[in-house]
Amino acid sequence: MQTAWCMLGDPHLAERMGQAGFVAAVADLQHGLLTCDQLSAFAASAESANVAPLVRMPEGAFGDVGYAFDIGFEAVIFPMIETAEGARALVAGGKYPPQGRRSYGPIRALPNSGLSKSGYLADANGRHLVFAMVETARTLENLNDIAATPGLDGLFVGPNDLAISLTGGEDTDPGAAEVTQALELVLSACAANDLISGIYANTLDLAFEFAARGFRLIAAGNDMTLLADAAGAMRAGFFNRLEGDKT
């Protein structure tokens, strides 16, 4: 399925993505303009449009994974997981025992779930998902151990960072042959460990290609490029119509 990817600093974007037909929207805290204090409003905005709120965390913020779930996010996409130890830290932050050691305090998640306290506790590890990002050569070396981490729900490829890592800093091309090869490793690891495969696609063509390869969660483009493209199309359409009417 497709998810929107939001980088601009406005929680209302989640609602607008729902209006556009998306069923999920990622708030990008690692590279986007959204800040932590906008996150619960982003989740509420997503829920109002029946959109699943997802978040890409900043690097190393293991302690905040549980909080993202507390305030209503359904899934966390966590950058730069390079070792099984990193994957275990992610699970520890996002899952209640026995899988992890998430601290209890689901301030929005519990009342919005309609469940009892014990009902939410029993359901929480299945309802809030953790994805480890695959972005470096080191991650690929440790991929099987990472993928086998109990409690991990998915792998999410960042093909731009992966291209930079695999080409030794030469290239950001997500279509590079090295990246394409790595995608097959990720898909195999997902199949072997019953994980959800996800990926970011810079363009519609890449999104199609990734879907054809079998990725299940695909982020196609982001709000900044979509806005600029739509504005450009409107501007060009106006110009072309003026020109067309002269002929």
Binding site: V23, N50, G126, R241, G244
Partner: protein
């Protein structure tokens, strides 16, 4: 069923709905385009309706809109109707928007 499966199911339902809406809207657009072209060619009543049906049928030749455009273009050329490619394509765009609007408001 996990959260993700449920979300995926929601996505597939929406996808099926969008595909159906698009199919209906294109068929409606083709009919409206046929009636517009019929008027340009001086056809009225049953003749106009019959012509519009041939435009709807033209869309089954191949995926996309080009088959519909070619049909109207050829008929205009046959009858010596003065409409540019740009005018035909623009009318197709406008009528598609109108068709989507009509179908959504009927639902």
């Amino acid at each position: 069923m996990t959260t993700f499966d449920k979300r995926e199911e929601g996505f597939e339902k929406k996808f099926a709905h969008d595909a159906e809406l698009r199919f209906k809207a294109e068929a409606r657009r083709n009919k409206l385009l046929g009636l517009w072209a019929a008027e340009k060619m001086g056809l009225t009543g049953d003749e106009a309706e019959a012509y519009a049906k041939t435009v709807v049928m033209a869309d089954f030749e191949e995926p996309g809109d080009e088959d519909v455009f070619r049909k109207v273009r050829a008929d205009f050329d046959d009858k010596g109707i003065d409409q540019t490619d740009h005018q035909i394509r623009r009318t197709m765009d406008e009528l598609l928007a109108q068709a989507i609007d009509q179908i959504e408001n009927e639902a």
